[in-house]
Amino acid sequence: MDLTAELCDRIRAAQAQHQPLELRGGGSKRFYGRPATGHPLELGGHRGILSYQPTELVVRARAGTPLAELEAALAERGQMLPFEPPYFGGEPTIGGAIASGLAGPRRPWGGAPRDLLLGVRILDGRGQVLGFGGQVMKNVAGYDLSRLMAGAMGTLGILLEVSVKVLPKPPGETTLALTTDPRQALALMGTLQRQPLSLSGLCFAEGRLHVRASDTSLEQLRAVLGPAATEEDPDFWRRLRDQTLDFFTRTDTLWRASVPAATAPLAADGDEILDWGGAQRWLRGVGSRENLRQTVQAVGGHAMMFRGPDRDQALHPLAPALAGLHQRIKAVFDPERILNPGRLYPDL
């Protein structure tokens, strides 16, 4: 269903009335970032796969297309979205998956939405339909404004269409797991990542190191992990991705830190999951947000409050010069600040 014309009208009307809009796809990530304000604008009706030719490794779809529908179409042809987008138990759209920029356990090897996004058509805050990027793998014509949309949470434009690179599913993957402690797990993850293995998951959670790799890498993998490593249910990765492991069902505030992979554990054992080979940390029992932010900033990372109360300062604060650029870029795309205002930072 093509709702471009209706959405254009809605945006123009909202712009004329300075009416802020809350952009809603599947609603699976409403907990994320700063709270949404504004009049709800439902985008899930603008849906449908527009073109998919497996040998071109590209799928183009309207942004409201349910992720489950899109992934099923790819799976039928033995392909996948390499960034393993989370569902969080809801019914996300491909547009929301791109706009949030969130990626699952495969991210260090498969990339994030921004890595796979080849092109977009957007509706900006003036009601203009604009296209950036395209449907080809390599494209450096003009500034890369399509990747700029990935992770912007709709604050720069409503995604109408996305063209995303897809990849063949690996022919066979196995998950091995090993009981260990966080420091030893980090050392093993480091060793594995310095070898040319076909890895697709490296996570220490709840006392166990989990490793997912192509079957062709299994022998080398066992050589590093030793005989104590046993085969594990691959459903672990889905539960990690969708945050249904026991760790995630606790009720205290959940923090996410993005750091250089070899960064020492940030929290007590049991209060930290080390995913992405160490580059993504899920943390509980964080005492002071300032202390955490200082610690991760000192190693070149950043931290966000992922689930919990006090969402106003969810994202890591930006340096002043960077914040200024953000405001000026927001003004280019959405001068009246009607698109998801304040969803990332108060002044965007």
Binding site: E56, D144, R328, F333
Partner: protein, 493 residues
């Protein structure tokens, strides 16, 4: 009306004195013979003399230079190694050329985090050389990797023959520090795999020096593959070679490299590099698989079968590393090889959906006859990036103009089939008119507004990459609207 800008020796000397207060005198070049080497980049068809060339060695000097330029309204063109192929570093006649080549230090190799922190003037290949003792390398490998600098790679979002599997520059960066035209230091990206806020790292990558001046880069390093195997296949037609590419991808294989060359390119490369190419073939494919031995050998076997099924009349796996390098040497020397069979050549850089390959090559052959200029084609077949090399002789009156016109037609053809005018070389000075074909006026205006968000006075690399709407009107090009192609002749395909 403003008076015509003064140029020539007196203005040069006065400006040189101004900048000599900010930089050591030897870092300020203003004599004609010193400026001459900087008048063009890798696209030598376009030349312009800058007022001055500056060669700072400290970030604080670059900051001082930028502040001075901002205050005085002096255009700044940043330049790395000058190997770019789109005139992106073509000097501005009223501006300074800011060379970053003295920023050539590798600041840190971090084997535990698998990263390298480097200054912008570090050569692409030097990063891999420094990382090799740790079993790591930097994946993007543009053909010019022996000479090109990482700062230039960031500015152009450089690709290479291995980017189908390992990605472009944008996929292999973690963090970039740049200076704004105000001389302010801004860091985008992070030491982790993402950063809060907008993805300005992606925006900076490929922005052709128009948003800021890159002063430091943190890149990802990857483990060196244990095994790399290359197979060469010869075909009687370009169509068959194209079908073979689709068959390999359809089988679920993403080769590390997948390159195609047509008949003229094969012959030129063979004469030049003696790579052992079959010179009678209409097209050859080079397909490289890599990884751990089990994986690579399994894929190699599959690829050989698929090539045979697609009608390859000869299939050869490189027997050893020496032969593998020879196979690649032919491909990597395709440009200079073509340079030997023609006084000049003009390299295009369109990307197309691969399914249109044989139609596009057929149309290029027709255009070649129409313009009376030969054209050799090399093709990053895996990702659809086509490099037609138009052969011409600049000493023959009108031939450069013909080559440009021919090239422009090829790029418009790429857009018409759903592709783009530039896959990896950038728009620069060269393809600016074709931008009018690929983008609508509203899209071009958005690009200009983004530029203004970084550089309100428009002093960083002015006049490149994004055409003004007035220029588009003059060029007479219209955006190709979906379903309303300007090329009715395409219907015949």
């Amino acid at each position: 009306m403003s008076p015509p800008s003064p140029s020539g020796t007196s203005q040069r000397e006065r400006l040189a004195q101004e900048f000599a207060k900010l930089l050591p005198a030897e870092a300020v070049l203003y004599r004609e013979e010193a400026l001459r080497p900087y008048e063009c980049d890798g696209l030598s068809a376009y030349r312009e003399m800058p007022l001055l060339v500056l060669l700072p060695t400290e970030v604080s000097e670059v900051q001082a230079v930028l502040r001075h330029c901002q205050g005085q309204g002096i255009p700044v063109v940043a330049r790395g190694a000058g190997t770019g192929l789109s005139g992106g570093a073509l000097p501005h006649s009223d501006g300074i050329l800011l060379s970053l080549t003295r920023f050539n230090r590798i600041l840190d190799i971090d084997p535990l985090n698998r990263t390298a922190r480097v200054q912008p003037g570090v050569r692409n290949l030097a990063i891999s050389e420094a990382a090799r003792p740790h079993g790591l390398y930097y994946a993007p490998d543009p053909s010019s990797q022996i000479a090109c600098s990482i700062g230039g790679n960031v500015a152009e979002n450089a690709g290479g023959v291995h980017c189908l599997k390992y990605g472009l520059t944008v996929h292999n960066l973690l963090e970039v520090t740049f200076l704004t035209i105000e001389g302010e230091r801004v860091t985008v990206g992070s030491g982790g795999l993402d950063a809060p806020g907008f993805d300005l790292l992606a925006l900076m990558t490929g922005s052709e020096g128009m948003l800021g001046v890159v002063v430091e880069v943190l890149v990802k390093l990857l483990p060196i593959p244990q095994v790399a195997k290359v197979v060469l296949a010869a075909f009687d037609s370009v169509e068959q070679a194209g079908d073979a590419v689709a068959a390999i991808i359809a089988a679920g294989i993403i080769p590390a490299g997948l390159e195609m060359m047509d008949h003229l390119a094969i012959r030129a490369a063979e004469d030049f590099a003696h790579a052992g190419y079959p010179v009678d073939a209409a097209a050859i494919l080079l397909c490289e698989v890599d990884g751990n031995p089990a994986e690579a050998l399994q894929q190699l076997e599959q690829v050989e079968t698929l090539l045979a099924q697609s009608g390859a009349n000869a299939i050869r796996v490189a027997r050893d590393e020496a032969e593998r390098l020879r196979f690649w040497a032919g491909r990597k020397s395709a440009f200079p090889a073509v340079g030997r069979i023609s006084p000049d050549y003009y390299c295009m850089d369109g990307t197309i959906p691969r399914q249109h390959l044989s139609q596009v090559l057929g149309r290029i052959a027709e255009l070649s006859r129409e313009y009376g200029l030969r054209c050799a084609n090399v093709f990053h077949a895996g990702d659809g990036n086509l490099h037609p090399l138009i052969l011409y002789d600049a000493n023959r009156p009108g031939e450069l103009a013909k080559a440009e016109a021919f090239g422009g037609r090829i790029l418009e053809l790429c857009v018409a089939v759903g592709g783009t005018i530039t896959g990896e070389h950038g728009v620069g000075h060269e393809k600016i008119n074709q931008m009018c074909v690929q983008f609508t006026p509203a899209e071009l205006e958005t690009f200009h507004a983004v530029k203004a968000a970084f550089d309100p006075q428009g002093l960083l690399n002015p006049g490149k990459a994004i055409p003004t709407l007035a220029r588009c009107a003059e060029f007479g090009a219209m955006h190709v609207h979906q379903g309303q192609l300007r090329f009715p002749e395409l219907e015949r395909f």
